[in-house]
């Protein structure tokens, strides 16, 4: 599917570049506040998941009362941040937004609450595949916050609300409310007809229990095609996001051998072995000189990574190496490569 625009104030966004660095400085921030978690998956009420249209004026009025109540309750937690929007999800100030607003771990930003309060924040992790991003307010709370809902049990037809700061709406004021219904409940994206546009990147999507079910990310020209990141994917990613990792959970899984070369040396000699990796389990040790990988001779260490990437995690390959004067043949089961790993 083609996208007209990320719902963001600055249109020139390049998300194709994968940034796989881990910002270790951030671990300090995250480490001190890691007590906050998305919590258990709450039960969605029958009203919130009801896919049926209102049957008459009485139903409409009931819907209206619910919507007005939710708007009043959640609006204080919806913040303006860096040309986009976000929602505070804990009293100590974790803020859900999207990766194309947060951009990368370790940036210092300011979030602005509807009552005009400003708070300093730092970006934590980003999942560029899903466009999920996390911030942490570094000023002392408590901060108004909204509750986590679930997105894996959505019902197409159920009503939803978006609150955010679309272009031309002032920050430091009440966010603009939009109503819609869930039209498509994918694992990677939720489609609704609650319209979003530039500035709504990171805007929370609520169900009729007043719980967050998604975060606004993109739209296309059609008014009934507004795209949100499902909240359950933030749950899945939570540990990495809190640790300040920038990653892409949708990238194809890559194989990992688990050997690290010596700095400044080009020879295919193992300087160290990643603990728990296939290399370690098969008995490869520091100092071994790799001769062949799956039948292909190695002359330089740089030749190894592309060979490993021809395989998938779990594949078994034969490695020939020289240890001292001995030549050994070992069977290695390849593991899965994480962001930042060497070969």
């Amino acid at each position: 599917m083609q996208i007209v625009g990320y719902v963001f104030r600055r249109p020139s966004l390049v998300l194709a570049t994968r940034c796989l660095t881990v910002c270790s400085a951030l671990l300090l921030v995250a480490g001190s506040t890691a007590a906050v978690e998305p919590g258990d998956r709450p039960v969605t009420s029958a009203i919130a998941s009801d896919p049926n249209p209102p049957k008459g004026v009485a139903d409409l009025k009931a819907l209206e009362r619910t919507v007005q109540k939710i708007v009043a309750a959640v609006a204080p937690s919806v913040v303006y941040v860096a040309g986009g929007s976000g929602v505070v999800v804990s009293s100590d100030g974790y803020v859900l937004t999207v990766a194309h607003v947060a951009r990368r771990a370790g940036r210092n930003l300011v979030v602005i609450f509807p009552d005009g309060r400003r708070a300093r924040a730092v970006t934590l992790g980003n999942d560029y595949g899903l466009d999920a991003g996390l911030l942490k307010i570094t000023d002392d709370g408590p901060w108004p916050h909204a509750e986590w809902g679930r997105s894996d049990d959505l019902n197409p037809g159920q009503w939803c609300l978006t609150l955010g700061y679309p272009v031309s709406f002032e920050h430091g004021k009440m966010p603009a409310v939009r109503v819609g219904r869930v039209l498509h409940d994918g694992k990677k994206e939720i489609i609704t007809d609650g319209t979003i546009m530039g500035g709504d990147s990171g805007a929370p999507l609520f169900n009729l229990d007043g719980r967050i079910i998604g975060i606004g990310t993109k739209c296309i020209d059609l008014l009934v095609y507004n795209i949100h990141v499902p909240i359950d994917r933030y749950r899945d990613d939570w540990e990495k996001l809190v640790q300040g990792k920038d990653f892409d959970s949708l990238a194809p899984k890559q194989a990992l051998l688990g050997v690290i070369p010596a700095d400044g040396s080009d020879e295919p000699r193992v300087a160290s072995v990643i603990p728990g990796s296939g290399a370690e389990k098969s008995g490869i040790r520091a100092g071994d000189l790799l001769l062949k990988f799956a039948g292909t001779e190695l002359h330089k260490f740089a030749e190894l990574p592309p060979l490993v990437q021809r395989h998938r995690p779990g594949d078994k390959v034969e490695i020939e190496l020289r240890r001292g004067t001995e030549t050994l043949k070992l069977q290695v089961k390849l593991g899965r490569r994480n962001a930042g790993d060497d070969q």
Partner: protein
């Protein structure tokens, strides 16, 4: 003027349509090629907020407001909706779209000629009068404007509201150009080629430029006899003309100069290049800025659906839709503002007579 983007958006709309098709069985398979041939907001999506069942539920509440809603036409073309505010023939509608012979079509099908009694260009509101008595009138919402989250519907003279939505924020002031702007002629080229940037890099299909025979690679050396040094100068010179007027171009093509005369089209037939429009969802009202106080709501309307009542779940009219403004927002003039304007316009008209 940016043709390339228009093409891209058109293309995207087609993809979007195909994407919707894939998860919406029962849609007409008819592919729409031009961006505005379709009605993006009117797309009745099963289980969407504007599916027929939702509108039907609201119609129950709309009864009296629907009877007081009219279709406003200019020279026979639908340009706006209108609201009957007094039973002896007074109506309000959006002023800036009234151009030509004005008629109103009522719920019962009767069509009456309308006279413009007065206009408030500040609010973009016009007071019309038709020769009639005993017309059903709107019931105004009294007191504070409805809070954010209130459900609203835009009534129509038909059997269902145009669309439903909710109030998005408190009342706000909208800056921007007040009053209608002079329509600019539209040639339909993109510039940027050649040494000085006056080379044509694209020509819009069906545009004035295409009809006049302009081609990619042409360099526009003169407009109306004046030498052109930059693309901006060409844009400015062409823009001095109104739609329907001819512009004389001296075009350099393959080492020779050719004189070309192009009859300009109306610029607003194509998407405006406002920065807030890049997220699609148009078309938008031509006059959509410069309002002292509006009630923003998220109802998807077309520009020609403005001018009529915005109604709450009690059937009370909370405002008059005055502009389709953004992908996510429509503006309504609050009821209190409309009522003041109506009495002021009546008073002024009475004094003049």
């Amino acid at each position: 003027m940016s043709m390339r983007r228009w093409q891209v958006l058109t293309l995207l709309a087609c993809f979007a349509w195909a994407a919707v098709q894939s998860w919406l069985p029962g849609q007409e398979p008819e592919a729409r090629s031009r961006r505005y041939d379709r009605d993006p907001w009117r797309l009745v999506v099963p289980s969407g907020k504007n599916e027929t069942a939702v509108k039907a539920a609201f119609q129950e509440a709309l009864g009296p407001a629907s009877a007081a809603t009219v279709q406003v036409r200019a020279d026979g073309e639908d340009v706006a909706l209108g609201a009957v505010v007094e039973s002896d023939g007074y109506l309000v509608t959006k002023a800036s779209v009234l151009d030509g012979k004005i008629t109103c079509r009522f719920k019962d099908g009767t069509v009456k000629a309308a006279r413009i009694v007065g206009q408030d260009s500040n609010q973009d509101l016009a007071l019309l009068h038709v020769d009639a008595i005993g017309l059903p009138t709107v019931a105004w919402h009294e007191g504070d404007p409805p809070p954010p989250g209130s459900l609203v519907a835009t009534s129509s003279p038909g059997n269902e509201p145009v669309a439903i939505g909710i109030v998005s924020t408190d009342l706000r002031r909208i800056s921007g150009p007040e009053g209608p702007q002079r329509p600019r002629g539209w040639l339909g080229i993109e510039l940027g080629g050649g040494v000085s940037g006056v080379g044509v890099t694209s020509v819009a299909p069906r545009s004035a430029a295409a009809a006049a025979g302009l081609r990619v690679g042409d360099e526009i050396r003169q407009v109306d006899g004046a030498a052109m040094q930059s693309a901006a100068q060409v844009v400015q010179s062409v823009g001095l003309h109104s739609p329907g007027e001819a512009v004389k171009l001296l075009v350099h093509r393959k080492d020779a100069n050719t004189e070309i005369s192009a009859t300009l089209a109306k610029a607003n037939a194509f998407p405006r290049e406002e920065p807030e429009d890049e997220w699609g969802g148009g078309p938008f009202s031509e006059r959509r800025g410069g309002f002292p106080l509006v009630l923003p709501h998220d109802t998807p309307l077309r520009p020609k659906d403005c001018g009529g009542p915005l109604v709450d779940t009690d059937g009370r009219v909370v405002g008059i839709n005055i502009a389709r403004a953004l992908r996510v927002i429509t503006y309504a003039l609050p009821a209190s503002v409309v009522r003041e304007v109506v009495s002021e316009l009546k008073r002024t008209a009475g004094r003049e007579q």
